[in-house]
């Protein structure tokens, strides 16, 4: 692969859950058509995607792990983080709802119900954005899950974790997009809790810093950012999945002012999805 060829290709590293939702399949062809770039998608674990970015093997990242994203930019590996869209996490559980989570009011109560019933909970356990989010929720609920036998740390991707939870009939936390796209394969699971504002799940897009590595297609990355935040594309994001699932999988939020580049410590912007 020589230099000129490299520059006609954009390497997008993302998480498997983002890719599995099918959103990229819908949007990227439009981008390719418009810009003439070819986009190659590497769908891997969150940590791995960040690492690929840190090694200079991708031109742009699309992930959902806010803390890690900020760190990535602060360490100088990314030029800037752009907010793209969000969806939310849902708490899933067996249809029988053994911990009676459905009657709880807050995610904190929901998790406490699981703990007090010693109901099985399957965690991704892979330090992905979803897993990090889940850990912070347990922290907020003041529950220490380490060393308990009802808490199963799987160390797998979102899809695998949902399949496992479905088979083991456990509770688990997943992003709504992945859950909806796999729902037909998960007869034993249903949403037992949703809507708490702390379940917000923002996605960001970060061009890799061309100053740090040779051979970064920064022009392409910038063009891709412009594409994704464009109004008509944001609209498409909001429409995606409506036909198939009766509700959108993602909500555009490119307009939300992103202050992370100002102080790097900006807490997750709060906007409760209207579901």
């Amino acid at each position: 692969m020589d230099g000129s060829e490299t520059q006609s290709v954009i390497m997008l590293a993302t998480t498997t859950s983002t890719d599995d939702s099918g959103l990229l399949k819908e949007l990227l062809p439009i981008f390719e058509q418009e810009s003439g770039y070819e986009v190659q998608v590497i769908a891997v674990g969150t940590g791995q995607a960040m690492k690929i970015g840190r090694m200079g093997d991708a031109d742009i990242l699309m992930v959902h792990a806010r803390e890690l994203e900020n760190q990535f930019v602060n360490d100088g590996y990314g030029t800037e983080r752009y907010s793209l869209m969000y969806n939310d996490f849902v708490l899933l559980g067996p249809v029988t709802d053994p911990a009676q989570v459905k009657s709880t009011e807050t995610i904190k109560e929901a998790l406490q119900a699981i703990e007090s019933n010693k109901a099985m909970f399957a965690s991704r356990g892979d330090e992905s954005g979803t897993h990090l989010k889940e850990e912070s929720l347990w922290d907020e609920a003041e529950i220490d899950v380490s060393g308990t036998d009802w808490y199963k740390s799987l160390g797998q991707g979102m899809g695998e974790t949902l399949i496992t939870a479905n088979e083991m009939q456990t509770y688990t936390i997943a992003d709504r997009g992945t859950y909806l796209s796999m729902k037909h394969n998960l007869p034993n699971l249903e949403i037992v809790f949703e809507g708490d504002e702390s379940l917000f799940n923002p996605y960001g897009i970060i061009p890799v810093n061309p100053d740090r590595f040779d051979r970064i297609n920064h022009e392409g990355a910038k063009e891709m950012v412009e594409f994704f935040v464009r109004e008509d594309i944001q609209e498409k994001i909001g429409e995606f999945g409506k036909d198939e699932y009766g509700q959108p999988l993602f909500f555009p939020d490119a307009d939300t002012p992103d202050e992370s580049t100002d102080n790097g410590m900006n807490p997750v912007a709060v906007s409760v999805p209207i579901l």
């Binding site: 090694m55 088979e167 083991m168």
Partner: protein
């Protein structure tokens, strides 16, 4: 950078082994238990079957052989999927409750290693001088006794078939991941731990686990080969 990651991996491996980290020891124990048991099961079926195929002619044998050799390249993840479907609560063996337990993993790994053991045993047996086999029969050996003596003649090949079977499953990840679920403290083995650390971007630790796995495999192979030391002398 690359050398950093490798060096980091080596140090990490040493560190993990030295400190006898219980998390790591547990993973090693599960790996050995699962792959060891699976290998024994595979050998118990594979060696006799391979010997039988190597010593007998029947119509359709070429087909069976091709199937067996194809089985060597049966994608572990597909075998994992089959076993998963079988063991899932709605599957035919769902009532066993083996999914996400070492039993299910053993089942999947036995299926993976069995064609390797059988295929290479067959090849080794077919390499034995046919005159010797005739001579054994003439001396009054039953079919079984002649088969055992033939396996003894082909011992290096049989040993290698076992080593190959072991190598395939101790390093296999697709099936154990799917069937075992990589549950910490229960079904996490070295390879699934490697994948997990890779997904996390912890390449150093991933390589450390890889080194531990290889060290274990090397010690086992070296010991087995020592027992067969004389067989190793070159065919000069």
């Amino acid at each position: 950078m690359s050398s950093n990651v490798l060096a980091e991996g080596f140090l990490e491996a040493l560190n993990l082994l030295m400190s006898m980290d219980p998390y790591v020891m547990d993973i090693i124990a599960v790996s050995l238990k699962v792959s060891g048991t699976a290998l024994i099961l595979a050998a118990l079926i594979g060696i006799p079957l391979g010997a039988f195929l190597g010593l007998t002619n029947f119509p359709g044998k070429a087909l069976i052989t091709a199937l067996l050799y194809t089985g060597m390249g049966f994608p572990p993840v597909v075998i994992g999927l089959f076993v998963f479907i079988l063991l899932s609560s709605s599957g035919s063996l769902g009532s066993f409750g083996w999914l996400f337990t070492p039993y299910g993993m053993i089942m999947a790994q036995s299926i993976i290693s069995f064609p390797l053991v059988a295929g290479f045993t067959m090849t080794a047996v077919m390499g034995v001088d046919r005159n010797l086999i005739r001579q054994l029969k003439s001396l009054g050996a039953t079919k079984t006794q002649a088969t055992i003596a033939t396996l003894r003649e082909a011992r290096l090949g049989v040993l290698v078939s076992i080593i190959a079977g072991f190598g395939a499953i101790i390093s296999e990840v697709g099936a154990v991941m799917l069937v075992g679920g990589n549950i910490e403290g229960a079904t996490r083995v070295l390879t699934t731990a490697i994948v997990l650390e890779t997904r996390k971007g912890n390449f150093g630790i991933a390589i450390a686990f890889g080194i531990i796995l290889l060290t274990i495999a090397f010690i086992i192979n070296f010991t087995m080969l020592r027992l067969q030391n004389k067989e190793l002398s070159g065919n000069e």
